[in-house]
Amino acid sequence: MKRTADAVIVGAGIVGVTTALALTNAGFKVVIVDRGSVANGTTGSGEGNILVSDKEPGAELELAMRSRDGWFELALDVGDLDESGGFELEAKGGVVVSRSEDGLLHLLKLAQEQSKVGIDTRALSPSELLELEPNISKEIPGGVWYPQDAQCQPMLAAAKIMRVFRSRGGEFHRDTAVRKIRTQAIEGDLSVTGVETDQGDISTPLVVNATGTWAGDIAKMARSSLPIAPRRGFILVSVPAPHLIFHKVYDADYVANVASGAAELQSSAVVEGTRSGTILIGASRERVGFNSDLNVAILRQLAAQAIELFPILATVQLLRAYSGFRPFAPDHLPVIGEDATVKGLWHNVGHEGAGIGLSPASAQLIVEMITGQKTFMNPSAFSPGRFGNHE
């Protein structure tokens, strides 16, 4: 293992690898460490949606819009001229629907506001909806089409980005857990001097915490704090059933669920077909710590909601189900920037249910801040200092 580095990135999820590649491209000698392998954390259970449709105008939508383009740039950079990046990147488009007239009015209003900030939206009549999704329930009064919504296969994306990162001189240590962040008081400020891992120590002035749901542990190792908590989600995966569902289709209630801070279970139908033919059904949200026990009641609710959107799904077999833990911050916004008390400790965490989609722009933003360049957007909404001290 290298004993010194310009920067050490902790965590080889999608956020860690995109940050590592961006820093490498900026000329840094970067080492990534992960206690497991690449995509070993939440990235390994993410669905890979890259969405602009599910966000209200504001800082997160600005980040999402940049990130959506960032994904297509990244695909060209790592994909050997393959436009899908070799990780199934595809601008398949999103269809948001509402099951009630009232809900539809709300949805159309949101779409109008989104289009003011540059999102491509199109209201859909029931017949236009049927044209896009022939199997959708005839009961649905309408929806909105978001052609910019895209999708990728996040584990493959992380692995391919890692490969290019290494080919450009980056170093990756798997099965290497960070135990401690070393700091030293320099001119009155507490500054990072290195990391201690179970495989040895690395001296570095710069540590990027990209440990997602586990980010609070790393902050604590540097005697700082971050209020990141797990928000569990279940996904149902069907047997291959190609040509039933063509886009990502979800219920407008989803936007409200995402924004809710409640701990108890919320769920709304998110349905999509994938390249391999399987249909993925989400999305539940609840805060139950790191408990991964299968909960049949939740699976049942997800299945029922999906069938309400697509009655034909009643005949499709469920093949597997799994859960993952979204990195949740109290205000649902990611944490991107330098720690409020420890110099040289940077955080790129807390992307909750959108970390795949938001990773390229988050990486760009943090690298712009680290290198003192002009940032493409105002990063203050993501500041780690916004929570105050949580000790």
């Binding site: 690449v38 798997r174 149902l236 291959p240 009643a314 469920l318 093949l319």
Partner: protein, 476 residues
């Protein structure tokens, strides 16, 4: 919700005997199985009208019938057939099983929830296939599949068949097929019979097994079928229409590498090839039972002397039969008996003394059968040499059509090291079988450690269920 004092899952030799022993000690037992009739894998019966054929297909069918009738006629045992458990959870108070079953015979299956504080798991094993070029051609199957076609539907898999692989199970399959008029054009055991020499004393103390072997050999001899030792099917060939036309067999060394130049082609329209058994630990994994890797490389439930896998003052889970390690029907019967009696003891239906008195002989018999099982695992091992039968284009995962070359790429280019990495990067094991067929082979191909094999055998959805069935409220 249906509650029972004791629930047994799996109505093979182990499950039936467990149910019987618990019920004989006054426990109320619910016996759940996904088959139409009792029997499990090996004693799986044909529909009633073909009962006479069952006798010719099984060496010891009379024993099976006796046990089956005792279970069916017992007033403390309720049998729930055609019930597929698809999900299960355990906590320190008991076990909840979600099954898909007809509420009444003839109904469409719907979800039924079962609860108990004392579960006996006897989910058995299924036979193992190894990948080789052409193993995915229709007509290539496992001996178990050939036998269940015959037993379950009275259908023979082909007219001219090759039977190959390793293990004593090849003999009964070959015998029942020749008796049904199939021309067995080749019967190949991968290992040499000389491997028995080290274990002669065990063989001689299991004369029953030896006679069973002679019984099959006699049937085969009558049909002029002779077993060849030290050969394996290493390639299968299809016609332009994609149908099996021939297989290539080759001499293999004890480590399963091919002796180059020994290959020869045999025309056939079906091939039954099996490499021992893989215990069905799906339910065990969902319940979070302790598991380990057995000497034959299979992931099994780990149990104590009394077949207990998990227990506290309020609940217990026992496991018996092949799910605790492959060992044949006799060992399964003994383990089932011990599990049933241990359950009765925990329920306070018998005293510790009664338990000890009634189990003394069974312990001895189990030990004897275990010794024999260990010898079988040694004689019929499946070493990793099969890895050089495959080529980069050979599929390792049939459901998702992932080739060995794609797995190599996940390892070499994307840095995959374990089963999970390879699965995420190549979709291997993500299809219909959820790794039941390929999971063990992938771990073998990668050469991963025990922890990886155990983790990889975990699948929370035990059997597919339609979203419509899932969405309905269960029977409460």
């Amino acid at each position: 919700m249906i509650r029972s004092e004791v629930i047994v899952v799996g109505a093979g030799p182990a499950g039936m005997n467990a149910a019987l022993h618990a019920a004989n000690s006054e426990c109320e037992v619910l016996l759940i199985d996904n088959g139409n009739r009792l029997g499990g894998q090996y004693w799986r019966h044909m529909p009633k009208e073909r009962d006479s054929l069952n006798y010719s297909l099984h060496y010891d069918f009379a024993k099976a019938v006796k046990l089956r009738d005792a279970v069916l006629n017992h007033d403390k045992i309720t049998v729930k057939s055609q019930a597929q458990i698809w999900s299960a959870t355990a906590n320190d108070k008991g076990v909840v099983l979600h099954a898909l079953a007809p509420r009444n015979l003839g109904d469409l299956p719907t979800e039924i929830v079962f609860e108990t504080q004392h579960l006996i798991l006897a989910t058995g094993a299924y036979d193992r296939a190894l990948p080789f070029p052409g193993w995915n051609i229709p007509g290539v199957m496992t001996p178990g599949a050939a036998q269940s076609l015959l037993k379950g539907h009275g259908v023979v898999a082909g007219k001219k068949m090759v039977i190959a692989g390793t293990g004593p199970f090849l003999l009964p399959v070959a015998s029942s097929l020749v008796e049904q008029g199939v021309e067995v054009v080749g019967l190949f055991e991968a290992h040499s019979p000389k491997r028995w020499v080290r274990h002669l004393s065990v063989l001689l103390s299991n004369l029953g097994k030896l006679f069973e072997g002679f019984h099959y050999a006699w049937i085969l001899n009558r049909h002029a079928v002779r077993m060849k030792f030290g050969y394996a099917v290493v390639e299968a060939h299809a016609s332009d229409a994609g149908i099996l036309t021939a297989v290539t067999v080759a001499r293999i060394r004890p480590d399963f590498t091919i002796l180059v130049g020994s290959e020869k082609r045999i025309e056939c329209d079906a091939a039954a090839i099996g490499w021992g058994f893989t215990p069905d630990t799906s339910l065990a994994g969902a319940l979070g039972l302790p598991q380990k890797v057995d000497v034959d490389g299979a992931v099994v439930v780990s149990v104590d002397e009394r077949q207990v896998a998990l227990a506290n003052s309020e609940m217990s889970v026992h496991a018996a039969g092949e799910v605790t390690g492959v060992g044949g029907s006799v060992l399964s019967l003994h383990e089932g008996a011990l599990a049933g009696l241990s359950c009765a003891l925990l329920r306070g239906k018998i005293t510790e003394k009664q338990y000890r008195d009634s189990t003394k002989n069974i312990y001895a018999a189990r030990l004897h059968a275990e010794k024999f099982a260990r010898v079988l695992k040694d004689v019929y091992v499946v070493p990793d040499g099969w890895r050089n039968w495959v080529t980069p284009s050979t599929l390792i995962c049939r459901c998702e059509e992932v080739s060995c070359g794609q797995v190599d790429a996940a390892v070499d280019e994307l840095g995959a090291r374990n089963s999970r990495d390879v699965k995420l990067f190549s979709r291997v094991g993500m299809g219909m079988c959820q790794g039941r067929v390929c999971g063990r082979n992938i771990a073998g191909y990668l050469g991963t450690d025990d922890a990886d094999r155990i983790r990889n055998a975990r699948r929370p959805i035990i059997a597919p269920i339609t979203l419509g069935e899932l969405a309905q409220d269960p029977l409460l």
